[in-house]
Symmetry: C2
Subunit: 328 residues, 2 copies
Amino acid sequence: MKLSEFGEFRLIDMLAKMVDAPPESVIIGIGDDAAAWRTGETITLATTDALVEDVHFKPEQAPWRDVGWKALAVNVSDIAAMGGVPQYALVTLAVPPELTIRPVELIYTGLMDCAHEYGVAVIGGDVVRAPQVTVSVALIGRAGVDDRGRQRLMRRDAAQAGHTIAVTGSLGDSAAGLRRLLSGASADDPLVRAHLHPRPPLSAATTAVRMGVPCAIDISDGLLQDLGHICEMAGLGAVVRTEALPLSQPLRTTFPHDAIALACGGGEDYQLLLVAPAETIRLLRSVSDVRVTAIGEMEEHVGRRPRLIDGSGKEVRIEVTGWDQLKG
Amino acid sequence: MKLSEFGEFRLIDMLAKMVDAPPESVIIGIGDDAAAWRTGETITLATTDALVEDVHFKPEQAPWRDVGWKALAVNVSDIAAMGGVPQYALVTLAVPPELTIRPVELIYTGLMDCAHEYGVAVIGGDVVRAPQVTVSVALIGRAGVDDRGRQRLMRRDAAQAGHTIAVTGSLGDSAAGLRRLLSGASADDPLVRAHLHPRPPLSAATTAVRMGVPCAIDISDGLLQDLGHICEMAGLGAVVRTEALPLSQPLRTTFPHDAIALACGGGEDYQLLLVAPAETIRLLRSVSDVRVTAIGEMEEHVGRRPRLIDGSGKEVRIEVTGWDQLKG
């Protein structure tokens, strides 16, 4: 069977089964936003993510500097979603020999912009030849332990029935930006900016984990797909109110009919989905430096899938496939 | 200017200059086999290396299982060259959607073979779509501190004039194996095995660092090129005796005229080059589980380049370019 028929998520499941159970020092292995293990008194986190030319970006549409920024930012998003602080990056740059030096300089300029923004030190990497540009980043960070020795981590599997579901920022802008980009909009368009230059809400994540938010995931594959991962891991369902979804003014104006669908299934928002008791979310909203919006609740549900309801409580069906690397 | 004219090493220099000086917690940043930083009482190491289809291997020549093995082994080699112990791997697999599942299974089987051999836990990764297969590994390990608080690390910049230069195993087999592979030899040929299935001498490296060997590098680009890095970083020259080079019987038999050139410039041996006082090397030879051969000495020399001499002390010139990713 071809990988395109098999799909990304079945492939990841298959590979995860081929890997041995991790040693006792490992707190979180395959299946969360980042891996976590004990190093003395603290917890070390690690994640990796790659941007591939013509798959994740097209050079004629995405400025190289944004490609560099985004290659690091998507990894910062994974560390933030664990409640960690990013520290050290290793950068593998695959480049065709025919490429000139300038694009590589711009990629690194954007990457260092992002490194400065989030306090990351680039301490190693690799340059390899390849037919197309790929920027692959491995990012290492740390998470803490509170006064009572409890790990300060936000896990995908820690949601409980009755918990409130909240998201940071606004949703759907990145997917709308990609659509605008494909129809010729410039890199300056505000929606296009959201797509090319995502800004993971690191400080909100740090605040959330300190307040005791137990569960988070970064929204990279699309709200419903990522919330679906949380439902599966907790063995729960979830209800999301479409009226509560935080939609930006540019999104409402530019795509009035598709705004909800883009917010639910678009992907690449690199916002945080947080799941915690209602009171914790209320407290977080009052102190967070970015917008935090409650959009629904976790619930006992045999389907273990999120469902959407409108203002009158009626179930809404949206054709959302989310992003599958291999189905494309 | 195109990257093919600029070359890999100038590009790496340029990128290293674009990166800020690392924070105080970092012991070793860009420019060694792996990066190193303090985590409490221990030292954490991290490195990354990728194998790209049609650049580093051809599917019609290299069994997929060997590709998986080698993708991890080349990273183990980097951690070993620092005197560290590999612990955790993140694996990024780039695959074309038209590929079938079987090659991916075989890649992971080989990768897990290597993980078992060297005690590595695969704890995360990523699957992305790309026009060709790439296996990119980020490997994290640890190094220790001795009773007197000194870091147990082997650094590229720690060579001193008068130190003995030694290597593990035999040299040139991998390059000879590649040559055999290109002329149609099967994957079972012993030289081809050395190329497809390198076995970094991790336990020898661990012994070396405990005995106080201060300086090491893994031989990936070719003996003279890698020794050249050590000369540059120490501001020293080096002399290597061709008669002392450890050459395997298959290499001598198969390439009697080119054996020395392959051993000096071939690359991808993934053996260790160790630099230490003569007495330390003598002790290491007597206890190591793999062959350790003294091949020369570090010397004061304005050229800061290694030179080769034959049995009569006459300088030998060998046209050795080493491997440049971008010049190919």
